[in-house]
Symmetry: D2
Subunit: 326 residues, 4 copies
Amino acid sequence: MELARLLARHPWVNSPVLFGREAGVTAEVPLLPANGHRWELEPFSWAAVEKKKVDVLFLATPHETSRSLAPEAMKRGVRVIDLSGAWRLRRKEHRAVYDFHDSDPQLAAGLMEQAVYGLPELHADRIAKAQLVANPGCYATSVILALAPLLRAKVVDRERGIISDSKSGVSGAGKEPSTRTHFVSVADNLSAYSVFGHRHVGEILEQLDLETTEFTFTPHLLPIPRGILSTIYLRLGQPATEAEVEACFREFYAGRPWVRIFTPPQLPQIQFSLYSNHCDIGFCLGPDRQRLVVISCVDNLLKGAAGQAVQNMNLMYGWNEQEGLN
Amino acid sequence: MELARLLARHPWVNSPVLFGREAGVTAEVPLLPANGHRWELEPFSWAAVEKKKVDVLFLATPHETSRSLAPEAMKRGVRVIDLSGAWRLRRKEHRAVYDFHDSDPQLAAGLMEQAVYGLPELHADRIAKAQLVANPGCYATSVILALAPLLRAKVVDRERGIISDSKSGVSGAGKEPSTRTHFVSVADNLSAYSVFGHRHVGEILEQLDLETTEFTFTPHLLPIPRGILSTIYLRLGQPATEAEVEACFREFYAGRPWVRIFTPPQLPQIQFSLYSNHCDIGFCLGPDRQRLVVISCVDNLLKGAAGQAVQNMNLMYGWNEQEGLN
Amino acid sequence: MELARLLARHPWVNSPVLFGREAGVTAEVPLLPANGHRWELEPFSWAAVEKKKVDVLFLATPHETSRSLAPEAMKRGVRVIDLSGAWRLRRKEHRAVYDFHDSDPQLAAGLMEQAVYGLPELHADRIAKAQLVANPGCYATSVILALAPLLRAKVVDRERGIISDSKSGVSGAGKEPSTRTHFVSVADNLSAYSVFGHRHVGEILEQLDLETTEFTFTPHLLPIPRGILSTIYLRLGQPATEAEVEACFREFYAGRPWVRIFTPPQLPQIQFSLYSNHCDIGFCLGPDRQRLVVISCVDNLLKGAAGQAVQNMNLMYGWNEQEGLN
Amino acid sequence: MELARLLARHPWVNSPVLFGREAGVTAEVPLLPANGHRWELEPFSWAAVEKKKVDVLFLATPHETSRSLAPEAMKRGVRVIDLSGAWRLRRKEHRAVYDFHDSDPQLAAGLMEQAVYGLPELHADRIAKAQLVANPGCYATSVILALAPLLRAKVVDRERGIISDSKSGVSGAGKEPSTRTHFVSVADNLSAYSVFGHRHVGEILEQLDLETTEFTFTPHLLPIPRGILSTIYLRLGQPATEAEVEACFREFYAGRPWVRIFTPPQLPQIQFSLYSNHCDIGFCLGPDRQRLVVISCVDNLLKGAAGQAVQNMNLMYGWNEQEGLN
């Protein structure tokens, strides 16, 4: 729904269409801050897609559905930005957590070769040309952006292990009502879940070229509606200064409008990036100048999902990366 | 579950049994502050009730189920404290909102004659002898206790109408996950619901002897787990002093351990009665000395449900009203 | 700070200046969702105001300060939009709650004659020409907009009294840390305050031409950061239909972009108007077709303060009322 | 205030006295769930202490004040349970964060020798005989209890480092209103603070015999009133089974009533230990059987402060450790 809102306001997007499973259905949009009204849903069909002359299809569908819709769209020359986990993972062992049942496994494998992981700060060039963009997971966005500069600069002692202790607001758990998302279960509480078993770990390992044993990930459910904060622990191979660490981040993200680097001792907080497409990154260096704590924040519904999808679309059509996201 | 916790700690209750619909089922008890563990549920059957020599049966069942279980229990000489709306209403027009389908309507009507509305501050004597106690609704408790002293003293200008603007935490909406109780729907929000149509209105009208047109009730869903605050508006028939109003409350509740009267300008807040069986009552008198705002707070899970049920049991067995509730 | 953010993004505002009491001070802006950074504050002086060629001065100052700054600004031909309570009240008895100490009472009285109450839905024409606009209080906005259509149409039985039970998020209580705004005091709580004595009552009475005894107002502090919901109770002089009531609202606000009328049974919720400049209005008509419950919601920092100030500026400069507010 | 509530209800405590800085002052007690009333404070003086025949003095004072009051109390034969950081630290380098200014450094050093760190699960025997008990910090309690069994069993690869990512509710930050504890700063937010510099680190290092470089601690401020959850990362020296890890915890805490061990995959959540004196401990073992994530929860106002103080008193007087804490 955040995506619908962003597209409706995007200056270069003409009459976006909101498809739903069924005809005539309208959806209430309580999550839209500026709009409590209802939106018309078109019943989805390929005929409708063609009639409406859809250029790019955003899929906010379960991963199984994305697995079957994306090939069909591409056959018709429609570009796809998929928000599910369907097309993010290259390695078979990581895909196991999704357990895909493709009707044509060879076609799927071929598409997987073409799919581009939609993290613009890492893959802008390839996204620009992509037919199929796999929009990253919300946790994965916060972790990969915090670690990529350091790992690419080869300053991390990977043998000592990297840990991400991540905390997410409840909208990351989806709209489906459940005991877990019941207000009384979440309020005045904090809980860890999926320790050593969260689905986003595969993306993180692949994008950062890490081995399973080198990375530990613990997600937690926060009593807030939205926002993610990841506290990441690692050890530098050699002692460094704060200035050197900050420079490493700033150089890597020079010219990237949606990543903000904080100068110590200022640190990101969830509030700072809420309702924005920014990924905020800050850090603390230990007194031994080797232990490093990196903190990154994203709004899980924007930079962690819909905002990043629009950013990808901007790149795919040669528009300014910030268009429609301010 | 609050009830199970209270009974487990009650000094005069021997080995309480927790019955459930199915055998061998155990229930997680995340609401119990002091206990995140699981409790054994006995599969419910009348044979089990007899075998366990149950004296009093607390029914925390849907009202339809209470409607059928209560007669069976009473046949067997088991006293019943029912926490549903099944036995609270005498007048047919009020019962319409529950739409009962009794297999033996005559038996049900007879039982209804015997049922006592379980508000100890109003009906202590009758509760002591009752076989069937209808434990009041949470909103109803907060409203009736705030109004009864003034209405009994006939100082209210009933023609001008009485309004209760009530606000409740989410546990009042039940444990069932739904879009309405999803954390993201409730957090950072407030909403009114069931305006002019809430089920507790009938109880309030009957207990206070009010006509439908004399009482307006608007419940709201608060972004907190538990607690109710009712802000009640009425007009006194004659100008009065603060001291007279306070005296009216204090005299009515003299000797009642679970009602606390606040002296102006101090007012109850939800926090003050949380995790206690108190109903807190305070008020503000307008500069015209006739407009009166009464504010009452209860913990909807204690004085508004389980705590009141235990208070009723205490009366039924001749124990101190505070037993097991501190 | 919301105002600073809005002005920074407004398409027709050139280089807004942020003045502060002291030189070189910078302010952290944690409330700005899209921006956790610091802003430069210019030290305030009339020389600076002139040098920067300020056309319109927004005053987000204590009312005493506004009382002394506004005359100075107007002498210099600078238009003023004041967000305090300094210039909202015509009647002396209402001003008593503010206890102004004007150095030149006659000048102040003269200015008060020229000041326009900045509620664009009521006073658009006068605001367009005003030199001094008194931006309304947040509660007052939510109450006045909900009542004006009915009172202007003379369909309210004023003798029976009008009640507004209003609930506000904590940002309405200001940025100053206090025991009352401490997280632990507010969370898991609800409390009423200033019953029969809130400062916004005067504005409401004056704008709606009500007598003191005709209106009762109870504000409550909600455990949420922002948003106001007012539940308003009144009695219609004659029985009416839902359609008639809705038509009364829709006709009054025809062409007004920032008021949304809800069709029963849909009701506004705080979430729907958060982060927007909308005032949402809905209602429930009682079964007697005379008792009416009106519910209105605003974001207290936008339509209740900064957004309305920008809306007023738009009118003062002949721009579209929605400019810079989407 | 939690302590006052616990002592007032403790079966073996006779007429506890609440001392305050000034005479005749009464304190509001909004944090007491069951009691929103006011308590009388006795003005503090040694004469009053003697007159009231105080056996044991609980100090909930700033550490500087505890540093000066404790020696005076002990001179008079009064036992002391100090809730500040004044007497917790043996090593000079850890005490630096408190910067004590003792009037008689030698006396203080002597007392420090006698002071016992009041963690009953580690030092029950010494606490029983102690004149001066230093009640542990809230974070320290959650971390030390989670790590002690594993470190004592020497199964941790200390060289690889131990990390505690801890999250606390706002009551841990004290009652003083500040920008940091303002509702609007905390709600819908999460922030890390005092990374590599929190005062409780010294206690943790001393109690667990760790070197500074072996332990990394990051506290976070949660948008909830109370409760702490620590997520602790370490590596076992040798691969182990879940059963072995669980046995290590269970054996260590056999017979200790206030520590609950969770069997995987169940994990503690903050809600489970709220309003109780329990420390809940659970864990997840990685697929490599060496990486271990330990999760521990306490209520920071009970096991993390007042509850633990009463538990210490129980030991000092030979009473059951659970007395007055259920």
